[in-house]
């Protein structure tokens, strides 16, 4: 009887260990598989945001301004992709700290995100 209790207890402990290993393993695997994708989506989102902001502040004639804004709206959808993947990685147990470290490193991969503002700025001519 006692032996049976011990066996059951061992199964429970083993199950807990396996579950714990699964939880850690899945977050590790998630990062292994999706880190590059996350970085890519982050950079795409940041560039889209930067460009959308710039175009919103340039004097463009109508209807060019409206058309540029539409392309910005589509481009900014990459931010949804990025946020979706980020949330899923968080749900899988990847820590917020780890994601932030990866994101900080990702900025360095794209020169335009680290360029001084004013570089490549168009003239003030009216369009």
């Amino acid at each position: 009887m006692k032996a049976q209790w011990l066996i059951n207890g061992a199964y429970i402990v083993l199950g807990m260990l396996l579950f714990s290993a699964y939880e850690h393993g899945i977050s590790w695997l998630g990062m292994l598989v999706y880190q590059n994708d996350l970085e890519g989506r982050l950079i795409a989102c940041q560039l889209a945001t930067k460009h959308a902001y710039r175009f919103a502040n340039i004097e463009l004639a109508s209807p060019l301004k409206e058309e540029v804004e539409k392309t910005s709206i589509i481009d900014l959808l990459t931010c949804d992709d990025y946020q979706t993947l980020r949330n899923k990685l968080l749900a899988l147990g990847v820590s917020e700290t780890r994601l932030k470290i990866i994101e900080a490193d990702a900025f360095r991969l794209e020169p335009e995100l680290t360029a001084q503002s004013g570089e490549y700025l168009p003239s003030k001519q009216s369009w």
Binding site: R54, L60, L64, E67, D75, L77, Q125
Partner: protein, 460 residues
């Protein structure tokens, strides 16, 4: 056994979670395309009904007949070949005094080459079309009241049905396109009735102004086509009949240059309707009409690539004017000369180096690209949009920076900052552009067996 099963189950669960983590790519792409279709209000081009009515037949004859050219050696069709997407395959067109077609075309005498690339003619009757020519020298000011701006300004005759008809009467009065010059004679290789004929479309060496020159040429064209009085050649009588069939309420003496333009435009509308592209089919609801690569290209085209900022609407052009940093053109002597584009029409400093956005339907066939035909393939053409300043220095043999300061400063801000597209993204945009290709009408529906003048039709 139990342990193995548990591990297998966990592995399966992990695999399932990881797969779903990235989301279903296909559903994401489709959702994004639906957003694009809704945001840009995209609809398939309506399919035009083909009907060879008398006006179509007249327009077809005029489009293919070299009799409209001063030296009887070139027709409208010469520079608008189906094989080359209704362009001519050349960087810059060879007008009168040329021989051959497409890439084989060459001058038979020393002449000045036309400075610009031949534009295609697809769907130019579409409401979106507001301007013609690279510099927009023919424009629609009010489509309902049929008010147009043209080189004839206030002297433009009334009666034009659309801007396409207005456009069609200008290449025939441009010396380096179809008109030729004063005192020239037609080639000796033509049928007897047409060889060694004086260029009677240019009646003087000089005219008081450009309007007078154009009006004179238009009068002479009608005179040549229809004859002045009751005495007429056999082929002139054929043209009289063709005009009377197309315009039953008019006698041949009432026929105006607007009637001629309207007939050519009517033919072009029906003959050069591009409507059944894979992209149009997708927009009509056939979700399998385009590949994943085309879908990815469409998303880049309408989003990150910013292509749709200017290449917008049903024909993928805003019919507006932009400087995208295409430097200039090179003349026959190999000198680099500036082509100020839109400036030639408006004389406004801000319009220097601006050119009308070319439509993109059937763009795969109409290389080379840009107003000076300086780029032969689509990948290079795309690259020049992505970073116009980088490519400006490629023009001069010594590698120096060729673009003038005022041109650099007036490059469209849509292209600044530079657009970062990966090689894969460029490839997908090209796939998308390929999906804009339409089946054209059959050659037999377009090309006549002969034209009234009896001049040879060279068009294959």
């Amino acid at each position: 056994m139990l342990f193995t099963s548990v591990i297998s189950l966990l592995g399966l669960a992990a695999y399932q979670e990881l797969i779903t983590l990235g989301g279903s790519k296909r559903s994401l792409v489709n959702a994004r395309l639906q957003k694009i279709i809704s945001l840009f209000n995209l609809t398939p081009l309506p399919i035009r009904r083909y009907e060879a009515d008398p006006k179509f037949l007249l327009g077809r004859a005029l489009f293919f007949d070299p009799i409209l050219s001063g030296n009887r050696d070139i027709s409208c069709a010469t520079c608008h070949l189906l094989k080359h997407g209704l362009s001519d395959g050349l960087a810059r067109s060879i007008g009168t005094h040329g021989e051959g077609l497409g890439l084989d075309r060459h001058f038979v005498t020393d002449q000045q080459i036309h400075p610009r690339n031949s534009l295609d003619l697809w769907n130019r009757d579409n409401d979106a079309v507001r301007a013609f020519f690279w510099d927009g020298r023919v424009e629609v000011l009010d489509p309902d009241k049929r008010i147009f701006r043209s080189p004839l300004e206030n002297a433009l005759p009334i009666g034009f049905q659309n801007a396409m008809a207005v456009q069609s009467i200008f290449p025939i009065v441009t010396p380096d396109e179809m008109l030729g010059n004063y005192g020239e004679y037609s080639p000796s290789s033509l049928p007897e009735e047409h060889r060694y004929k004086l260029n009677d479309l240019v009646v003087s060496k000089s005219f008081p102004n450009e309007t007078a020159r154009i009006q004179s040429a238009h009068r002479q064209i009608l005179h040549r086509l229809l004859g002045l009085d009751e005495a007429a050649t056999e082929w002139q009588i054929q043209y009289r009949k063709a005009f009377q069939s197309a315009y039953p309420k008019k006698t041949f003496k009432d026929i105006s240059i607007a009637d001629l333009g309207n007939a050519i435009a009517h033919f072009e509308e029906l003959a050069f309707a591009a409507t059944d592209s894979a992209w149009d089919k997708y927009l009509a609801g056939d979700t399998d009409a385009i590949t994943d690569s085309v879908k990815a290209g469409a998303i880049t085209f309408y989003g990150k690539g910013r292509c749709a900022a200017c290449h917008t609407g049903a024909l993928f052009s805003d019919f507006s004017y932009h400087n995208i940093g295409i430097y200039s053109t090179i003349n026959m002597e190999g000198e680099i000369v500036n082509d100020y584009g839109r400036w030639f029409t408006t004389k406004l400093a801000k319009d220097r180096y601006r050119f009308r956005t070319p439509p993109l339907r059937n763009v795969m066939k109409s290389s080379p690209y840009f107003h000076d035909g300086s780029t032969s393939d689509l990948e290079s053409a795309l690259s020049r949009h992505l970073n116009p300043i980088e490519h400006a220095s490629e023009y001069l043999p010594d590698g120096s920076f060729a673009m003038e300061k005022d041109q650099i400063e007036s490059i469209s801000p849509v292209l600044m900052p530079k657009i970062n597209l990966t090689h894969e993204e460029i490839g997908s945009v090209i796939s998308f552009l390929k999906a804009l290709e339409s089946r054209s009408r059959e050659l037999s529906q377009i090309v006549p067996h002969s034209v009234p003048s009896g001049l040879p039709i060279v068009y294959r």
